[in-house]
Symmetry: C2
Subunit: 203 residues, 2 copies
């Protein structure tokens, strides 16, 4: 008798329909406004049934996080296979990473814990400009002293800030605790590379 099998199948379908409804919510209004109630509403069931399939709301989001990382892995692998020289592979993967992030923005934000209050208003903060101008002026000075004074300082500023922010936030995601002095080598490494790149023509 296939009753047990059918039940498992139905359960799986139900679970999938929850995720489907949840995902519709996420892509239409962002994951911050996802709510159990809206999911229940969309699948036309009462609220508690969702808890028969997922421990809590976080478990639903975790599902998407996993899916996102797998999608990213697949993308990277596919792109990597199209090249043979490692340096070209790294380059192609970088572009694929970038494309993935913006083509699947909701996934990416979920995966890396991004997206918060007032993110759209951050550009209007005067204090931000103070910090920005200090960095830019230094970059400018460094470029002026280099062999390539025609370098785009604004581009280099973005690179500089991105490296710093990337290092910090990756570190914050992975470690709950403190700075971890040894990890500062990564910072030193990245900044050294950046400074070198100012004094050299990029290939």
């Amino acid at each position: 008798m296939g009753i047990a099998e059918r039940k498992i199948r139905q359960r799986e379908e139900f679970r999938a329909s929850i995720l489907e409804a949840a995902w519709q919510q996420v892509i239409s209004d962002g994951w911050q406004s996802l709510s159990i109630r809206k999911i229940a509403d969309a699948i036309e069931y009462s609220i508690p049934v969702i808890y028969n399939h997922f421990e809590n709301k976080e478990a639903i989001l975790l599902e998407f996080t996993k899916e996102g990382f797998q999608k990213l892995a697949d993308t990277l692998e596919g792109v990597k296979a199209q090249h043979t020289v490692p340096a070209r592979q790294l380059e192609a993967m970088a572009h694929a990473y970038w494309d993935f992030a913006f083509d699947h923005k909701e996934f990416y934000q979920l995966m890396f814990g991004l997206g918060i209050p007032a993110c759209d208003r951050v550009n209007e903060i005067e204090e931000l400009k103070n910090a920005t101008s200090i960095m830019i002026s230094t970059i400018k000075a460094a470029i002026d002293e280099s062999n390539h004074p025609e370098t785009d300082y604004f581009l280099k500023y973005h690179t500089y800030l991105s490296i710093l922010h990337g290092l910090v936030s990756i570190q914050m995601i992975q470690k709950e605790g403190k700075p971890d002095a040894a990890k500062k080598m990564i910072l030193q490494d990245a900044i050294s590379g950046f400074i070198i790149s100012i004094n050299r023509i990029n290939s």
Copy 2:
């Protein structure tokens, strides 16, 4: 008569006490669990009085965001002043940036919209390891082909990922919209620098 002045002063003090209470909440439980009700409780006033001084909860958080950026700007400026060569300034500023982020974690998370569900569980995601291993293997291959096969591949992987994530998330914060193809030059620039740094000894 100094009545008006006193009133303004008292208003200012009240406002400050709200921020003070809010900040205590933030540093003890993280900004995600900050609530108007808890603030009201801490200052021993009813809830609506807070809305006499701040338009909404977001306005309170924005206050801290501003404060954070100003703190960062001051820190960078102070560190910069201790050096004369721009390259050294950039280096020192990078370290100061790092220290700031971890010494004022709550500020930093607020400033860059970090901190979300399941951030501590992200390391246990199997799918993450899939994506990781693809990148690491490529980095390894690139190092093997370089003039410095003794390079720490794990360090380089972190640098690579940090650059990518930094670029993406900075871009996501600043722009609501789409990829912006021209901005991809920043990516190309950063990755080129990274690849160069694999083939060179860091100064």
